[in-house]
Amino acid sequence: MNGVEGYMYPNEITLYWSVLIVLYPYITGLVAGAFILASLERVFRVEAVKPTYRLALLTALAFLLVAPLPLVLHLGHPFRSPEMYFTPHSTSAMAMFGYVYMWYLMAVLVFEIWLDYRREIVLLSQSSTGLLRLIYKVMTLGSTNISPRSLAIDERVGWIVTLIGIPSAFLLHGYVGFIFGSIKANPWWSSPLMPVVFIFSAMVSGIAGVMLLYMGINKLRKQAIDMRCVDTIAMYMFYIYIIDFSLEMLDLVHRIYEANESFNSLNFMVHTKLYFSQIVLQICLGTITPLVLLFLTQVVKLPEIARKYMYVISGCLALIGVLAMRWNVVIGGQLFSKSFLGYTTYKMALATKEGLIVAIFLTLLPLLFLWVLVKLLPPWPEKSAPAPAAAD
């Protein structure tokens, strides 16, 4: 009955965290990962990835704008969500989301993008017409000062913001891991490694996402792909994926070796209900395969076209693997009974507020936002920018 095997506490039969809560850490992770990639260039002076710097920032912003939507939609009372800002509960990991989110959105991402684009914004506010002109005008905040001195100040401040942004990105996503990792009632979640695993998998997915976007957009724009850039990104993705995989395996080995009271139950779950999403999708297809592909690109001298295909395949697989990981954490954590005596089933709805259609829409929505952002603030240098007008 109801897809229950064995014994569940009667209130456990329904899952309260649906596919939307799977998307929430996934999208947040893409934000954090994209930002880390951007900071590679800015703070760590990895010049090779410069072509993706602005694209990574805009991607982070587009996904960050969507990140709270699945959360708010899944609430029973979405309109009460401002209570998180008005009366945040200091002992709740979730309460900090509002503040961390606002901080990251406004103080880090928007500020950094604004600083970086200020020259273009000012120029565009003078060259464009109509509604666009008004939008750019508002974005200048009424200051048209783009003297070399002011731009130098922007550069310096932007560097500091990025520096602050790195721990902020870690905070944003690490704390998402903490939401799960701090639940002592749930042995599948309760682990101090959870925030760390979340951060590293986030970096993998964000870097893979930006890499794919960069390659895809350049293909669409019929521009040459800067292979030095993509090679470097793939290298970083490979190293970070190794760390991520090691941490996940450490967690797994630790659980297997300790084999505490929950082990039999969780072990059974991984071999039955989660077999496909955990073993097949997450570990074999989503982690080991891209790792092997990326490893090959690192040690074997391959022609450019082969590398491109391998990057695209491993990037897509990494995105699937990380999504599967989020699924296994969120859904997997609710499939077994806290009595360790039984299992329930998650039946994804199709057209409800928390159904598959909404989930797909929310996954695609950031791409729409990104399209608007790219139109508004072109991330590629000078190509479509107007001739510099005399300013100041």
Binding site: P78, P82, F86, H89, A107, R118, L141, G142, R149, S150
Partner: protein, 189 residues
Amino acid sequence: MSVFKDAGHLFRFAGLFVLAFLVFLVVRHYVVPKSFGEYGHYRGAAMGEIAAHPAKFAGHDTCEACHSDVADKKSKGKHAHVNCEACHGALFQRLPNPEQPRPNLYKRFVALIIPPAPPDSPLLRHAEDPSSVKPEMPDTAVLCARCHTASAAKPKGFPQVAPADHSNGVPCETCHQPHNPAIDAGGAK
């Protein structure tokens, strides 16, 4: 001076922040419920609201205030510690909710975002109006069996019988008076 001039746009951005923060503080002042934080990080008035819910089980004292004859009889038998409402059900019954017309499309859409509170149905109070509101007389075939049907799972010392073997379909109250069930207590009416 020119440093400030060239960093002027940064002050504008910072000004936006300060402004937003001030607006937030003002809004916060007005929307946070007054009793929030009275006892802890919650709305103190919530306890009063929860405590004000109407009770439906009135408690045996309320029943015994009128039915003292039954209380006397019960106190002498094995069911002395079984409260009235354990068998007779809650003194106050809730009527089933009246049939609601199906809401229109707009209302159903709104309900997706703001779930409506379920309508409250009236309480029938036997203690206020004893003649017109009467608790249902329980069916002993169901009622007695619920506790006294023999099962290997029940505590060994608890009196239990297999109903079919025990009475062969004869109603329980033929031999046992529920308020004092021992047969020598004069079960047959």
